[in-house]
Symmetry: C2
């Protein structure tokens, strides 16, 4: 009787262990819980299967598993304006007392007045002037401290949350899923490399050495007997459009297997990625959810935008080349971690 | 009796296993077998202890363990000339039939005549002209194939071996030892980034994304319907002297914990590394072994060199700042893997 009881208990324990294991396996079976079932989610799972399954004819050695992600509009919002532009405008305001001439001089007047129309009219030249006035003239250490402070206090005008809380939950899951399968995840953004680096590790799990972006020149100098890198008001590199493959080649020296973007600025990165041989995945996030985030651009039949344009020609290229368009509305069960 | 025999055999087996384990442990106890005991070797072991021992007050999280290595003269020879210059001269010869004007035009004439004096007289401007003529005008893929082919066939004039066989064995052990302790090892060289990348992974265990070097501009273009990056005859970045901290900040975005060089071109990299807080290691390889490799430069009381100058002022700075000078003659038991 006692030994029968023992066998019974052993059986129960084994069953419980089996159930626990099964539950864990089931929980582990969906690495992308914020993605609805559909073509986008299936394409991701299929890329990972094809490149990591040991019996797959398209198996890729781990060191060649490179995935590149645009930032603005792909990993976090780019509306109502690029986060870095919001930072630049705040910096201009903070520095205005030292520059009384800005009150009457464009594009600074527009920045101080929050006049987005006038800022847009100032064009690229005006934006560069704003960036130079707000991003240069200090050491790299000082700039990092300024950005870090700003990210702690600044709030998104619509969501009333820190910008770092606005990382898209489905993309965080995708980044983690790719890394769990041996991929190195890179950010390849038109945004400033030193504007992004202070937050990418904590927010996206992407270390500074895997962040590629636009940059201004720096100069090595001795200051009070200590070496510093001073940020100069001179463009070094624009990591956008045809600059993205250039930046990828310069920083990584390998062609990505997967690339993720959301706008015309990502077109060449996706072309470059797609031109390699073997399994590939190119995806574009479409902003079509005005309720939970934003909807804009001709691909939605909506007016154009200055911050992350997705023109019809990009949709045509995507169709032609088999790039997968992610509908935020349909493909994402949840957009932000803070949602109910 | 039988059980006593069994116990005896079990004891012998345990002893043998113990001996085998002990021998392995002893073998594992010297991760740097090609380094003679001395201050240089002790400094390396001490840095690793200080930054990785869990009870060390200077423990460094793995993601911050960055070590940077110059290439020419630090990881492989830079004499009788930089390997990349040997490559450029061979390329100029290979292309000469398409450029009859080179027969009478400097610096090409000097290159075709192997006239190192005249090449030196052509100065930096002349060298840049040679590099542009030999390194630009093709796609990045084509250039990689050209470099890979050259490395397979070219031989060092003194050692009669492939250049990739000339990696210094003690430095290979150092790279592997640091990586085994969680360090990311980077190459930060004045040499061309795309000249080094085809061989760094196989030779040094350093993947392309951890190679920083000088570069020429590239341009994204469509060629026969496929995207290519064309190499332009225009300097993009010179990763030497004050350019090394700039390159480190641009590519890595973190300050190294350890830096290794051999010449005035590495001074600022060592300064920048040494200016961080916590445990640090800055080392300079001194070429003082004419018998096994080369001996040159004023720090040896020998004539100056064009390829890796180690001036007296660098030795003074090393003394003052506690940078460790590695004597190839005294600190290295073996220089090349192919030595007896």
């Amino acid at each position: 009787m006692r030994s029968q009881l023992r066998i019974f208990f052993a059986f129960v324990l084994a069953l419980a262990a089996g159930l626990a294991f099964g539950t864990r396996a089931l929980a582990g079976a969906d690495p992308l819980p914020s993605w609805n079932d559909g073509a986008a989610k299936r394409a991701i799972l299929e890329l990972v299967r094809a490149t990591t399954n040991k019996s797959s004819p398209e198996l890729v050695p781990p060191e060649q598993r490179i995935a590149t992600f645009d930032n603005d509009g792909t990993l976090w919002p780019s509306h109502p304006m690029y986060t870095q532009l919001a930072f630049a405008l705040d910096r201009i305001k903070a520095l205005a007392s030292q520059h009384p001439e800005w009150k009457t001089k464009e594009p600074f007047k527009a920045a101080l007045d929050n006049d987005l129309e006038a800022l847009a009219a100032a064009g690229e030249k005006g934006l560069v002037e704003l960036v130079m006035a707000s991003h240069a003239g200090m050491s790299t250490d000082e700039f990092e401290a300024i950005v870090t402070d700003w990210l702690k206090t600044a709030r998104h005008p619509r969501f009333k949350r820190r910008y770092t809380e606005l990382a898209y939950q489905p993309m965080l899951e995708l980044l983690a899923y790719l890394r769990a399968n041996g991929f190195k995840t890179y950010i390849v953004s038109g945004g400033g490399i030193e504007f992004m680096r202070p937050m990418t590790e904590a927010v996206y799990g992407v270390p500074p050495e895997q962040v590629i972006g636009s940059s201004i020149e720096t100069k090595y100098e001795m200051k009070d007997g200590k070496p510093v890198l001073m940020r100069l008001p001179k463009i070094d590199f624009i990591d956008d459009k045809a600059g993205k493959p250039v930046g990828i080649n310069k920083f990584i020296g390998r062609r990505p297997i997967a690339a993720f973007g959301n706008s015309a600025g990502d077109r060449q990165m996706l072309e470059w990625t797609g031109a390699g041989s073997g399994a590939r995945l190119m995806m574009l996030v479409l902003h079509d959810d005005a309720e939970r985030e934003y909807a804009y651009g001709p691909a939605n039949g909506l007016p154009d935008t200055k911050f992350g344009i997705f023109p019809e020609s990009l949709m045509e290229e995507a169709d032609k080349k088999g790039w997968v368009v992610i509908s935020m509305k349909k493909d994402w069960a949840r957009i932000f971690a803070f949602e109910e």
